[in-house]
């Protein structure tokens, strides 16, 4: 397995091997699927759209609908204006969405298609909408694309009427429907009324009913997005995925905003709850105190199995930072943490966490890849690997217990229904981690050391 990965460090500047990111448009497609009756549209050649739908479908095991401008060589030379126009007409005619959310690819970005003016020239049916964002694949990652699409919805739609509606805008970051449900539950439990944008719960985890719904029940409605301009506060969960949209809403509609980490683990969930409390000015209900107490109870119970265990974590920056903090709270050592997404803040925030918890010799890398992570592991091993499916080769090659958490997980089922966020999500993550470590002990220990009770 991965026989050609060398132990010795080697400074690569051009060759990317086994990336820990993918490109912008799929993030935008995912964000657009979190809007009710929205059809994501990929303005480029159709291969991108096929790949991105495939990526999402494989992760969620659910349909991921999207259309494409289907560029030909001619359009690539002369511009894709007429392709978009034809597409819009066909989409409204045949698929009848409430809103089309257009994103771009490296093709339409390189040729410089002006989406603003294209859309202005398109005859959009009464009561329907068409928005866009620019998602050049050669900048950032899928997380950047997600962030840009959220920004695009707000730019096009949100307006301030001057009258506040008493709601909090929640931007949940690049997370699973299971996470979004949990973040909403916490807000409801705190008595906070909110609008979440985007919200893929009910879309990418829709139930089996015997009838395929092109536009499932879930998703933020267009009206709700328009009304975001009247909300009292925005909580952007995850700096990389959510901050841009929050700032745009502030600039455009004067909605104050706060950026928090994804509420993964104890302290980050505490922060989320405290922000909700600061807004609602109400007591935290006992229900949440009980959940928190259960989580702390569990962490004390399991500490003999987790304490000082070395972990490597890879994936998307907000998720990885959240999980890094949580493993530190569990007494583990986040030896290597890697994201493919570029951005200095990742390494800076990781370094702050290392200092705060007093751990030495840990490395954080933004714009890294799995080849490099594997090299580090070869140099000094870890007890556990946490990340998406693409880590399974390293886990097998180095015989490391592996916990699947993050995007994409394309070789396991059910995960996207289950949260990683909140106290409940932390408890689940703690269970996954402990089970992986304990399964390994059961597999590897001498027969005479095989324990009935652990």
């Amino acid at each position: 397995m991965l026989d050609y990965t060398k132990k010795e460090s080697y400074d690569r500047t051009a060759l990317r091997v086994n990336p820990a990111k993918t490109c912008q448009p799929v993030g935008a497609m995912y964000a657009a699927l979190g809007v009710h009756e929205c059809l994501p549209h990929s303005h480029g050649s159709q291969g991108c759209c096929a790949f991105h739908r495939m990526f999402l479908t494989r992760h969620f095991k659910d349909p991921a609908m999207a259309s494409s401008s289907s560029f030909t060589e001619g359009a690539s030379v002369f511009g894709g204006g007429s392709n978009l126009k034809t597409a819009a007409k066909n989409i409204f005619d045949i698929y009848n969405p409430r809103i089309i959310a257009v994103h771009t690819t490296c093709l339409s970005e390189t040729i410089g298609d002006d989406l603003n003016s294209f859309i202005q020239d398109i005859d959009i049916p009464e009561g329907k909408f068409m928005v866009h964002t620019n998602t050049p694949s050669y900048k950032g990652s899928h997380i950047t694309g997600f962030s840009n699409m959220v920004d695009g919805f707000i730019k096009y739609l949100s307006v301030s009427t001057g009258k506040k509606n008493g709601k909090v805008t929640l931007i949940p970051g690049f997370t699973n429907p299971g996470d979004m449900r949990e973040m909403k539950r916490l807000a409801s439990t705190m008595g906070v009324s909110y609008t979440m944008l985007p919200d893929t719960s009910g879309v990418m985890d829709s139930p089996m009913t015997g009838k395929f719904e092109m536009y499932p029940k879930g998703g933020t409605t267009v009206e709700e997005i328009i009304e975001l301009g009247d909300s009292n506060l925005t909580l952007a969960l995850g700096k990389f995925a959510s901050e841009l949209g929050a700032q745009t809403l502030k600039k455009k509609c004067g909605v104050p905003c706060k950026t928090l980490g994804l509420p993964i683990g104890i302290e980050k969930t505490d922060e989320y709850i405290m922000e909700l409390q600061a807004y609602s000015q109400q007591e935290v209900p006992y229900e949440l105190e009980e959940e928190r107490g259960q989580l702390v109870d569990v962490l004390i119970d399991i500490h003999p199995y987790t304490y000082n265990k070395k972990v490597a974590i890879f994936g998307d920056p907000d998720t990885v930072l959240g999980m890094t903090q949580f493993v530190l709270e569990m007494g583990m050592i986040p030896k290597y943490i890697v994201t493919g997404t570029p951005g200095d803040d990742f390494e800076k925030e990781a370094a702050e966490l290392f200092t705060k918890f007093g751990v030495d010799g840990c490395i954080a890398r933004a714009a890294g890849d799995l080849y490099q992570l594997h090299q580090w592991i070869k140099q000094e091993g870890v007890d556990l690997l946490i990340g998406g499916t693409h880590g399974k080769h390293i886990a097998r090659a180095e015989d490391i217990p592996f916990v699947r958490a993050g995007f994409p997980i394309i070789d396991r089922y059910i995960h996207s229904y289950m949260p990683l966020v909140g106290y409940k999500g932390a408890m689940r993550l703690a269970e996954l981690i402990t089970n992986a470590i304990m399964d390994r002990q059961d597999r590897d220990c001498k027969e005479e050391d095989f324990e009935m009770v652990m």
Partner: protein, 532 residues
Amino acid sequence: MSVAEKVLDQYSSRVYKNRKTHIVEINNNENENQIAANVRTIPGIMTQRGCCYAGCKGVVLGPIKDALQIVHGPIGCSYYAWGTRRHKGKNAEGVDNYLQYSFSTDMQEPDVVFGGEKKLKKAIDEAMELFHPSTIMICSTCPVGLIGDDIHAVAKWAEEKHNIKCIAFSCEGYKGVSQSAGHHIANNQLMKFIIGEGDRKIESKFSVNILGEYNIGGDGWETERILKRIGYEVVSVFTGDSSIEDLKNAHQANLSLVQCHRSINYIAEMIETKYGVPWMKVNFIGVKGTIETLRNIAKYFDNEELTKRTEEVIADELEKIIDDIEYYKTKLKGKTAALYVGGSRSHHYQTLLHDFGVSTVLAGYEFAHRDEYEGREILPFVKEDADSKNIESISVEPDPEKYHLYLQKEVLEKLRDEKLLSYYGGMAKEMEAGTYMVDDLNHFETEEFLKLLKPDIFFSGIKDKFVAQKSGILSRQLHSYDYSGPYSGFRGAVNFARDITMGIYTPAWSFIKAPWKTAPILTGTLGGEQAC
């Protein structure tokens, strides 16, 4: 109103006019099942098609295990082709295997602005130092063609600097109208730079190439196992579990067997022209298909011992699976299927379904050309359109040294007349009257046809699978085999039947409706009246 008319009727006139030509009711039409294919996709129609890059790097080149393939472009294209198509490859002594890796130049904005050649060269240098490959392939993506990076010049540079083979593929995603253009581009380069270079000693005169077999889920291995049992020497497989060295020797075989006509017919024809190796369309999918194929191959080699051995192996293989086949037939007989796959399986799997008494009500291709639908006899009448004109078409001449014929010219002619060689009859001829053939089936049509035709199983890809299943129809993937396989040959037939049987008989289908949806809500009376 026919089913097709009911579907088409919902379109605007412009779309109607276009799509009408892509939908054929078999034998119930005036123009002999003629279909429009291999033309541009309608924007916004929600096609299932992919791009030229996918056809080149994803399909034809991807399975070559010892060529280090660098995708020149932003990260997505390389990422999505990483381990997602199940072309299996085994580690073998002395042959590198890079199938677990994804290599990219991960183009950034400055590379788009100032050109990416420098980074590509650096990436090649780094690949050489870390991996020491004997062959590097460069695959371009959308922006590369637009910014004018000369990847072919870089390939030449790499060959000189590193003393390796380096081949560039200009397979930008916007070329052609589908994956198909990418097949052609890959075929051209393999023909120009690899095939014919080998001098491996070929032991048997019963030597074959298997063309258009990508070893999905181990299909190629099952096919090879059967051929080797009979006594054939498999010189090369294009390109499942292949090495560059295998491919180099393809010209030495005495017959090429073409499984996927769409993706490899260019090479099949060119090998024949240049080296005298004829090709035969085969089908190792399905029990009857496999048996017929094995007999056809034996007929070509025309050797008593080989023919005898062929029948022995067929009898033995059949005996081993016959109980399973009979069992699954009882489970599947009378069911109906719709198939929508890329450029070849929609036809081949009808043979396999037929083995189990499953009939086909609709079949379509994403990107096949008219010859896959109507047979190669229509080739002279196929018009090239503007979208595909820029795909290079190369021609080859007989090689003065390496040209060889296994059979006399007259015998070859006779076999050609019998349509045993150089011929593919296409899908339409084997479909029943009144069934449907649809090209570039889009999402709307998928939903509508499924509603109207109500097949028991819809065979398609990952993007369709959950759409069908949400509406209560079993969907099995015929690209990835839902992570199962092999489906080829004798053993594959049993695997296939097992998989669709478990799909149809999964208990969960019976729970779709919650009991309270049909049960009375309250018993007794409500407001003096009987409830429900």
